[in-house]
């Protein structure tokens, strides 16, 4: 499964009511709130065996699937 697909699956586990492929700004569009982002980070850490640093938990890193994918790849490369 591509990382974009995996990320989409993780997002749907948190907010099953939304289509995350249809938005380019999850937070502005009300699809993720601050605690959803925390849950998302915990789930991504587990799914990819990484540890996203706390300083990276800022809205711009979680705007859309592409930005999340970029973040995941950055820390997966450090493994």
């Amino acid at each position: 499964m591509t990382s974009a697909k995996t990320i989409e699956e993780v997002l749907k586990q948190i907010r099953p009511e939304f289509d995350f492929t249809a938005s380019q700004d999850f937070i502005a569009d009300g699809m993720l709130d601050s605690y959803d982002v925390v849950t998302l980070v915990a789930d991504l850490d587990k799914a990819y065996g990484i540890s996203i640093p706390g300083i990276e938990i800022v809205p711009e890193n979680f705007q859309n699937i592409a930005s999340i994918e970029k973040l995941v790849h950055k820390y997966a490369a450090l493994k």
Binding site: I14, R15, D33, S34, Y35, D36, V37, V38, T39, A42, S51, P53, G54, I55, I57, V58, P59
Partner: protein, 355 residues
């Protein structure tokens, strides 16, 4: 700001938590979130149970209960108390200060210094700094530092942002001069420009409480609270901690000529498990050296959370021996402070229930 103290020791520490316990699972129905979403958050943040006062219990009630327990067990003699500092953001009254209330209720002598300090999450550190400074006075030999808050009474039960993690508690720390002149290094920063990240907007003189300030409003993320309630910008506070605390600790250790390996335990303020684990990862500190389990048992009791963490996790260790502890408090103000000190052996270290 760097601080340096010598010849000070903590003689004993008692934490008091309400016996009244609530669970996150029971409280979930108060929140405007699907159960599944709340349960996921419970798992990540470490929410489980918290201790809250039941009814109109005030800060001086918790504090006096703890003090009377110490008097009864002869661990503290009322006559030996030269100063009583109370760190609280939930005073019994706007005036008089809660230290005066406690002094009066306990019938303590008049020849003493009573002072309230309005501080929160960093309040244990700030309180220790103030007490250490006071102990320079030759006439001051024994000081009681009380950290206490009953903030659950100012948090909306419909606010999932804050209510699950809040806890009420008091701690009584007896501090005195010591023959040991080992340095106690500390540092401190404050930033009032970010003060609104953690506040109770109404109830002071800027915006007195009124029927309007009691109206519940949605914060845009399905949390309901009024202006009379605690308001926390979770993202701002999380980011503040992750950015500011690692360099604060690095500076402290560098000043002290110490390394992380020299520290037995990092006893930090307990906001929630996720924040502390991310902090431990950023600082490359093993989780077992940085306890993060207070919120799941008792809740986040603001300035009392460090004493609760010590009493819950380390009471046997600090009763029998000495640990090298790095303490850090961070939060409301915004304020962040840390201290490196040898802790123990303590004459008493315990955690008791307020019935």
């Amino acid at each position: 700001m760097n601080l340096l103290f010598r010849n000070r020791r903590i003689r004993g520490l008692l934490a008091v938590v309400p016996a009244h316990e609530r669970s996150f699972v029971d409280e979930m129905t108060n929140f405007q979130f699907p159960v599944a979403r709340s349960l996921k958050l419970k798992q990540v943040m470490g929410y489980d149970k918290h201790r809250l006062v039941d009814g109109p219990v005030c800060s001086s009630d918790l504090a006096c209960f703890g003090m009377e327990c110490l008097f009864e067990k002869r661990l503290l003699d009322p006559a030996e108390i030269d100063a009583l500092y109370v760190v609280t953001q939930s005073p019994d009254y706007l005036m008089p200060g809660t230290a005066s209330v406690i002094q009066g209720r306990l019938g303590l002598n008049h020849d003493m210094f009573c002072l309230d300090i309005n501080q929160g999450c960093a309040g244990f550190l700030i309180g220790l700094f103030q007490v250490f400074l006071l102990l320079d006075q030759p006439s001051v030999r024994t000081v009681v530092l009380i950290n206490v808050d009953v903030l659950s009474r100012k948090v909306s039960s419909k606010d999932r942002n804050s209510y699950p993690l809040i806890g009420d508690a008091a701690s009584i720390t007896v501090i005195e001069r010591s023959e040991d002149d080992s340095p106690i290094h500390a540092n401190l920063k404050m930033d009032g420009t970010r003060r609104e990240a953690l506040m109770i907007p109404a109830g002071g003189f800027r915006l007195p409480s009124s029927p309007e300030t009691a109206v519940f409003e949605d914060d845009g993320e399905n949390n309901l609270r009024a202006l009379d309630h605690l308001r926390m910008d979770g993202s701002a506070v999380f980011n503040f901690v992750q950015v500011e605390i690692p360099p604060l600790i690095e500076d402290l250790l560098a000043t002290a000529g110490a390394t992380k390996d020299d520290v037995d335990y990092f006893l930090f303020h307990q906001p929630n498990r996720f924040m502390l684990q991310k902090l431990a990862e950023a600082m490359k500190v093993p989780f077992e050296k940085m306890p993060s389990n207070v919120v799941e048992h008792y809740g986040n009791s603001s300035g009392v959370s460090i004493p609760v963490a010590i009493a819950h996790n380390l009471r046997e260790k600090v009763a029998r021996g000495t640990i090298q502890a790095c303490l850090a408090g961070f939060g409301v103000g915004l304020t962040w402070a840390s201290m490196l000190m040898r802790l123990g052996p303590l004459e008493f270290c315990d955690l008791i229930d307020f019935p």
